[in-house]
């Protein structure tokens, strides 16, 4: 049945509005980053973009942030995911308290978290390490609400109890059940949660700034104080990079067609 013109117009109006809401700021950033920022520039220039690699502190900061993201991902895979699976499988009574605990970082403002953990990080920097990679600890707490929701939805979508019991009767121990059966089954949820976590880690500013670590966002802010065009071009590049990561999230779980016919 053909949709009426009214519906089409309404639909395209919404799409256009949302599209403009998302794309206009990006275009504005691009526009600003290509504006002349020196006496020698005439008209449009990509100088802000070409000077990115030469910015002091930027490349090490990017590397540090990416390594931190990788550590956070490892913590997700080997700590948060098995814990979430364990709670769903063995401790259903703890599901609500666990969920509440995971959602807490959303309810607590970043500044409050910093005030709370600052003494701990002071101790860490004095006694253990001054490396910004130690931020992975607080980041893995910050990403909990997003990662846990994503995992929980994936775990609810499949009958993990039956899969776990089937694996056990076939001879699998608990480790094999979690890492060999359940984790591959909820792969999409894990990937979704991990990418959202990466986006968060790469974009986080408040905590790293207040704890005085030179992360990607802090260096961008620092560049922004001396050269706005370069800061905006780096920000846009980072947004596009995260956007690229998010686009990698598989949206189609099943690539092959499902046979509807019951062939017995």
């Amino acid at each position: 049945m053909k949709k009426s013109w009214g519906v089409r117009i309404w639909r395209w109006s919404i799409i256009s509005f949302v599209g403009a809401y998302l794309l206009v700021p990006l275009y504005a950033m691009f526009d600003f980053s290509t504006k002349p920022f020196g006496f020698q520039d005439k008209g449009r220039t990509f100088r802000a973009w070409t000077t990115i690699p030469g910015q002091p502190d930027l490349m090490p900061a990017i590397a540090r942030s990416l390594i931190t993201a990788a550590i956070v991902m490892a913590l997700i895979l080997f700590l948060i995911v098995p814990t979430a699976i364990w709670v769903h499988l063995k401790l259903p009574a703890l599901r609500r308290p666990f969920e509440l605990l995971c959602l807490l970082p959303l309810a607590i403002p970043a500044i409050v978290i910093v005030v709370g953990i600052a003494p701990l990080y002071r101790w860490i920097s004095i006694n253990l390490t001054e490396s910004p990679l130690s931020l992975a600890g607080v980041y893995s707490m910050l990403i909990l609400p997003y990662t846990y929701r994503s995992l929980s939805a994936a775990l609810d979508a499949v009958d993990i109890h039956t899969l776990a019991e089937a694996a056990r009767t076939l001879g699998a121990n608990t480790g094999r059940v979690i890492f060999g059966i359940i984790m591959p089954t909820i792969k999409t949820g894990i990937v979704n949660g991990s990418f959202i976590a990466i986006a968060l880690v790469l974009g986080e500013y408040t905590i790293s700034n207040l704890l005085n670590y030179k992360t990607f966002q802090n260096v961008i802010a620092q560049i922004g104080r001396t050269n706005g065009n370069v800061a905006v071009s780096v920000s846009l590049a980072s947004i596009l990079f995260v956007l690229f990561l998010l686009l990698l999230i598989p949206t189609k779980k099943r690539r092959n067609a499902v046979l509807d016919v019951d062939l017995v």
């Binding site: 499949v158 009958d159 039956t162 899969l163 019991e165 089937a166 694996a167 056990r168 009767t169 076939l170 001879g171 699998a172 121990n173 094999r176 059966i181 591959p184 089954t185 792969k187 099943r254 092959n256 067609a257 499902v258 046979l259 509807d260 016919v261 019951d262 062939l263 017995v264």
Partner: protein, 349 residues
């Protein structure tokens, strides 16, 4: 307890809060036998099966398989093959990988080539050799349960446990698959415990059928014996259809529908009772001076089911071969009598 039994469930008890799922269940299964546990929801049949699989802890009791006490053995060490009610294939593995999974966990015993050969053999056995590389979502419900059966059989289980594996399938597929399960079980000689709430399923494929109620075994017997010679009113009423007909019991017989039939052991021994008469035990003949009138007639293919209003106001259901019911339709006057088959009589009221 018989020492020849391959599987022994001894005095099993399990409570879930105030609910008694198992209340002193005893059951023995001989090697190569297929026993079906039948009963209404909540009677404890699935709990018993899960306890044998090692997926359910018990409050009390002992589980012996092949002479070895497995009561406290972990599920992954018991070597039981299980097919679940819900689809349980691992979604990220193909049918072949699913079948090989149990063998892989025994990799020190099973080389890759042997594994491959074994999975091919089992997929062939369940008629899915052409679907070996399909993922579960590419298979129909019936196909998924067949692969699950192949996967359970791949590890050469000590006991095959079937937990209502056909209940999610449509009627035609169910019938076909249950016959295949029986064929494969007979071919391989695997000792099997089959839990179902579908009596037709249980009666059609099991060597023996156990009827459970309130966590206990009410009666266990061969299907024909269970149907023809129930030991309790619950079994008589739960398995198959019955007509409750009031009568008077004297000396091991009851007088009903103008005739006298013997009562089964366990029946009321004297006084007023209610006979539980099978529709097949009632004979119906067209007669203008008969003692009943046909209210409705249902054609069932090989047989015909008649609902008859008796002259005394009672209503009975009879089932005749279709060839004998020709010309007997709604409104026909009929003469209703009993065939000489013993009936179970429960206490009146």
């Amino acid at each position: 307890m018989s020492s020849s039994a391959y599987v022994q469930l001894v005095d099993l008890a399990k409570h879930f809060g105030k609910v008694r799922a198992l209340d002193g269940l005893n059951l023995e299964i001989a090697q190569g036998e297929l026993v079906a546990l039948l009963g209404p929801s909540g009677c404890g049949k699935t709990t018993a099966l899960r306890a044998l699989a090692g997926l359910q802890e018990l409050d009390r009791g002992q589980l012996i398989v092949d002479g070895k006490d497995v009561t406290f053995q972990n599920a992954n060490k018991r070597g039981m093959g299980m097919v679940f009610q819900a689809y349980s294939l691992f979604p990220h593995m193909t049918a072949r990988e699913n079948v090989e999974y149990g063998l892989k966990l025994r990799s020190h015993k099973t080389a890759a080539e042997k594994r491959k050969a074994r999975s091919a053999e089992l997929l062939e056995l369940v008629g899915l050799s052409t679907h070996a590389n399909h993922f579960p979502h590419q298979l129909s419900g019936g196909q998924q349960q067949r692969v699950a059966l192949a996967r359970a059989l791949a590890i050469s289980p000590k006991v095959l446990l079937l937990d209502e594996p056909l209940s999610a399938l449509d009627a035609k597929v169910r019938t076909q698959l249950r016959e295949e399960i029986r064929r494969i079980q007979l071919e391989l000689g695997t000792t099997t415990l089959f839990v179902t709430h579908d009596q037709e399923e249980a009666l059609s494929i099991a060597d023996r059928v156990g009827v459970m109620r309130n966590g206990q075994l009410e009666q266990i017997a061969a299907p024909a014996e269970l149907y023809d010679r129930p030991k309790t009113a619950f079994v008589a009423e739960f398995v198959g259809l019955t007509n409750p007909i009031a009568g008077n019991v004297t000396g091991g017989s009851i007088e009903i529908l103008g005739g006298v039939v013997k009562t089964l052991p366990g029946s009321v021994s004297s006084g007023a009772g209610i006979a539980l008469v099978r529709p097949e035990s009632i004979d119906v003949v067209a007669s203008k001076s008969g003692n009943g009138t046909v209210f409705s007639a249902s054609f069932l293919g090989a047989s015909c089911r008649l609902t008859i209003n008796m002259n005394d106001g009672t209503r009975v259901t009879a089932q005749l071969p279709s060839s004998d019911s020709a010309g007997i339709g709604a409104g026909a006057k009929v003469d209703v009598s009993l065939l000489d088959m013993p009936v179970f009589v429960k206490a009146a009221g």
